[in-house]
């Protein structure tokens, strides 16, 4: 029985992730949105993600959920190549590279590498590996799973940094114009941003409903039904049954988030949780739930997982790794 539950949960989790780019496209089309681009550079297959046989029948295991209204109707407004022909794209790319590279070499290359491949001189000393920009695969996006981010997505990460890593919030140090130049430069490092494909749709985050007890209770039920405990644990401690075996697309072990800890990498705001649940984290086992959960349901899950965050005690404060970005 336990094994059946495990298989069912894995099926949902994996099925979501593997099917979602297509699911999102279909839903987007239903909603009148332009068809998003398929990745021009395929994302490397996940090494550790579990049993392949269960991928075939993902949703049948939990058929009770209605198909949601999809909230991915808006094309990315800032794709550099939108409406441009190949020669223009090449010109724009060269210009963005020329303007952003000095800043990149000064502030970013030491970790991310001069070529953007994540192998800078400081990378080996960092506990969380710097991103390889040449693959064009980004975790923190407002676009569907597996798709390129918008320039604003990249700017947001540069601006706010990533909690618990060595990626600092550069908004305190660089001007908005410099951050825009940097984001533009990062996009020049991957061919995925410079294809004929139309830009991907952008997630719209609706206003957050009230986080009352009923919403939290609904979120808790959805948390279980969506198979979240398989990775995140029944209590949300990040200690699910397959947690220890999870790896990212780069083959590195990756630990599911512990909702009781201070803050996820994408920040402590509810909108950040909503975005992650909606788009997933490409390159990791975290799938997108945009096709399985309606916006209100996603907010319910957000309210539930945020309700798990324990009040920070003195011990938590003292054990926060100093010199690393943590949110009090």
């Amino acid at each position: 029985m336990q094994m059946q539950a495990l298989v069912s949960a894995i099926t949902i989790a994996m099925g979501c992730q593997l099917l979602l780019p297509h699911a999102a496209v279909a839903q987007g089309a239903d909603a009148g949105a332009p068809t998003p681009a398929a990745p021009s550079t395929p994302v490397a297959p996940r090494e550790s993600v579990q049993p392949q046989p269960v991928q075939a029948q993902p949703v049948q295991a939990q058929p009770a959920l209605p198909r949601p209204e999809v909230a991915l109707p808006t094309p990315a407004p800032d794709s550099p190549h939108q409406g441009a022909g190949a020669p223009q794209r090449a010109q724009q790319r060269a210009l963005a590279a020329e303007r952003g590279r000095p800043l990149y070499l000064k502030y970013c290359a030491t970790c991310h590498g001069r070529d953007g491949d994540g192998h800078g001189p400081s990378a080996a000393a960092l506990e969380v590996a710097p991103l390889d920009f040449t693959r064009g695969v980004y975790k923190f996006r407002t676009t569907p799973a597996g798709m390129i981010p918008t320039q604003r997505d990249i700017e947001r990460t540069i601006r706010l940094g990533l909690v618990g890593t060595r990626m600092p919030p550069w908004s305190k140090l660089l001007s908005p114009a410099e951050i825009t130049l940097l984001a533009g430069y990062l996009m020049t490092l991957s061919d995925r941003f410079w294809t004929d494909e139309p830009p991907p749709p952008v997630l719209e985050i609706p206003a957050e409903p009230r986080a009352d007890a009923a919403s939290i209770a609904r979120g808790q039920a959805l948390f279980g039904r969506m198979g979240c405990p398989v990775c995140h644990g029944t209590q949300g401690h990040g200690d699910g049954m397959i947690a220890a075996a999870l790896r990212d697309d780069w083959g590195k072990p990756i630990r599911p988030f512990d909702f009781h800890s201070a803050s996820p990498k994408g920040g402590p705001a509810a909108r950040g949780y909503y975005r992650t649940i909606s788009t997933g984290h490409t390159g990791t086992p975290m799938p997108s739930f945009v096709a399985l959960l309606k916006p209100d349901e996603r907010w319910d899950v957000v309210h539930y997982v945020m309700s798990l965050r324990a009040p920070r005690g003195v011990l938590d404060y003292l054990l926060d790794p100093a010199g690393r970005m943590t949110i009090p």
Partner: protein, 422 residues
């Protein structure tokens, strides 16, 4: 702004000790000193990460994340979130081009020092109250390619360093072999920039103790081994000047080994150091006071200097703890001279209440001659160290020393530092 001013004032009013130990940053980062410095042994000119990321984004007050930025409803979709206090990048840039960079450490201080006793019985203690320039180092580094870097350091008091670093693999590779050739400070123990420590100046490995030779650094993931062959002429001497009694083959040998590990939130680095210089004509500074003045001439017959020690650097959350214990042993060639043994130790516990502010407690102990037992000395200090903005450090300290062998006894020292660096 008011908070920042209050913090600056409160730190200036606080008391502290000479612990300006940047090795605690390495402990906090769970990395070697070369994360931030070009020199594999640490210290001196900073590399791109140390200069543009750590010193810029992780040290100063107020450069940490702002919760309100994430909570801003538009932070996900546009750039209207709070921007903090960005200054639009560096107004001053020490990077001349992709290959050439310069740097500096400029440390000016005010010191108040009051010994327990005067120099003679009944005399008043000689109180020192003075401004002074404590450090002035100007660095240059030229990165010729991924494998070769040249470094030149001119110090106002500390002489100069000039060395080339050849890396078999590009710098930053986790497994690498680097060869340093030129004039530099031997790798030994915890490279604390406070040269006054018993474990630095006290044993003859202070700021001025540069030496010429060749040093190999091998890194294998978290393990590092450094081995050097040197002239053995510590102090501000250019050539091996240990006289005709020392053969041309008799050179100093230094070695330092360390390994880092992690258990949960606890980060630890353990290491050991060794320095051997045969047939020199000087006793170790720690032991020199124990040599009978009437037998000073016998020392020039030859001394084998040995220094050996172990160290620990650890971090748990906001706390970092450093400890070093060094044993010093001199064997004299003059048959009637007994060998001397002493030791020095250093401990430091630091706490970071918020980014940009470190509170540090230190304790040092030295026994220059374990046979005598009457000349032990100790120092304890408290430090408050503030990085109010980029490239600037303000530090205050109070230190109490106890020294029974010194005619003036111990002393109270109070020092306020301004440290500008890039």
């Amino acid at each position: 702004m008011t908070v920042r001013v209050l913090l600056v004032v409160s730190v200036l009013l606080a008391w502290s000790s000479h612990a300006h130990a940047l090795p605690r940053f390495a402990a906090r980062n769970g990395a070697s000193c070369s994360l931030c410095h070009i020199n594999p042994s640490g210290g001196g000119i900073r590399n791109a990460y140390g200069r543009n990321v750590f010193a810029t984004a992780w040290l100063p007050l107020g450069t940490g994340p702002a919760r309100e930025a994430w909570d801003h409803p538009d932070s996900d979709t546009d750039d209207s979130a709070p921007k903090g206090t960005h200054s639009g990048g560096f107004a001053f840039d020490p990077e001349i081009n992709d290959s050439l960079v310069f740097g500096a450490d400029f440390l000016a201080a005010y010191i108040y020092s009051k010994p327990d006793r005067g120099p003679a019985p009944g005399a008043k203690p000689d109180v020192t109250s003075s401004f002074f320039l404590m450090q002035g180092d100007l660095y240059h580094a030229a990165t010729l390619n991924d494998h070769v870097t040249l470094v030149f350091d001119v110090g106002i008091y500390s002489g100069f360093e000039a060395w080339g670093l050849l890396s078999v693999l590009p710098a930053g590779e986790p497994n690498n072999l680097q060869i340093k050739v030129g004039r530099f400070m031997p790798a030994f123990g915890i490279r604390d920039v406070n040269h006054q420590l018993y474990t630095r100046d006290g044993i003859g490995l202070g700021a001025t103790d540069k030496d010429s030779g060749i040093e190999l650094t091998g890194t294998l993931g978290p393990a590092m081994l450094q081995v050097a062959v040197l002239n053995g002429t510590l102090g501000d001497k250019g050539l091996d000047t240990h006289g005709s009694k020392r053969s041309w083959l008799e050179k100093a040998l230094s070695a330092r080994a360390s390994v880092r590990g992690r258990a949960g939130k606890l980060r630890v680095e353990l290491g050991s150091s060794f320095y051997y210089s045969p047939n020199t004509d000087e006793a170790n500074p720690l032991l020199a006071g124990s040599v009978d003045p009437a037998r000073t001439a016998d020392v020039s017959e030859g001394v084998d200097n040995v220094r050996a020690g172990g160290f620990l650097m650890s971090n748990l959350g906001r706390f970092s703890y450093l400890a070093e214990l060094v044993s010093v042993h001199d064997s004299f060639k003059a048959s009637s001279m007994p060998s001397l043994t002493g030791y020095a130790s250093y401990q430091e516990l630091s706490f970071v209440p918020l980014q940009g502010l470190d509170l540090i407690g230190t304790f040092e102990f030295a026994d220059p001659d374990v046979q005598l037992g009457n000349d032990r000395r100790a120092r304890a200090g408290l430090v408050a160290e503030l990085f109010p903005w980029r490239l600037t450090e303000l530090r205050t300290m109070v230190r109490r020393s106890w020294d029974r062998a010194n005619p003036t006894g111990g002393a109270w020292d109070v020092v306020v530092f301004t440290h500008l660096f890039f």
